[in-house]
Symmetry: C2
Amino acid sequence: MMSKEELKHIKNSFKKFLKDKNLKPTKTRLEVIDLIASYGSHFEIEELVNWILSKNNTSVSRSTIYRTVKLLQEFGAVREIIKINNRTIYEFMAGRSHHDHLICVECKKIIEFVDQEIEELQDQVCEEYDFTPINHRLEIFGVCSECKNKGNK
Amino acid sequence: MMSKEELKHIKNSFKKFLKDKNLKPTKTRLEVIDLIASYGSHFEIEELVNWILSKNNTSVSRSTIYRTVKLLQEFGAVREIIKINNRTIYEFMAGRSHHDHLICVECKKIIEFVDQEIEELQDQVCEEYDFTPINHRLEIFGVCSECKNKGNK
DNA sequence: ATGAGTGCAAAGTATTTGCACGTAC
DNA sequence: GTACGTGCAAATACTTTGCACTCAT
């Protein structure tokens, strides 16, 4: 899903980002990046914590994960992509371009899509309002193909 | 912002909705609708509760407000429109058609917009994935015109 | 009369924070 | 050596729930 080079590159840029903020590139912070990267592209913090705690060769505390995820959001490598019922699903963006999500309310599957036209129209809307966009989130909730078929049988 | 007739109409449909679910159109539930309607189009529950408690002629408990807002979401008169930093901003949709939001991260202003083309493109995306959309949320975070000018002075 | 609704206080979640100890430069 | 980082447990913030009492039909 991501080459070692990409990951290394991300970590190096993150180190620079930290240095600029007078923060330190500690072993723990870099380890959190590795853990997130190997966990998969979407995660909730609680799941991630449990997964980390279940590994016997690592241990990073819940608070440090929260703190590091926050830093990674500022840095831009992590985004909150879905907010549903007080749960937050994060995504590791490393080396990936922007995209949006379809969320199946039945099976919770997350489907990613990109639509350049939608992006352009959004920029157009922003221009109309003299609004400078920083980021956006488009969540489409509905029922996926498989779940519809299951429902029909 | 909303005519008395519209409000009355909403309340009547809500009564039907409740009846269909074997729930009761209590004074308290209908009062919550009035309160939300007169509070304004956007609200957070905590704000709403404080506002209601500060009025000396009404009192509906925090739990009932949470419970009623949930029902109104199912009914479709209330939507969660913005999720930011674990806060949820709701919108009273009554009699209004769908629209999306620009959120200024400086002054927290919320600007509503409609873009039919974006809506159509979303439907197109859903079709491609054989995904049946139920609802969606598009939040564009950025800096509004006024805040940019303030920043430049 | 009966099942549903309400307020209250207590219990849950998710997230943040204070503090004592540890680590990077 | 100093300032920042970390883990832990406690605190906070938001939301839900159990229960005794009340209301709508």
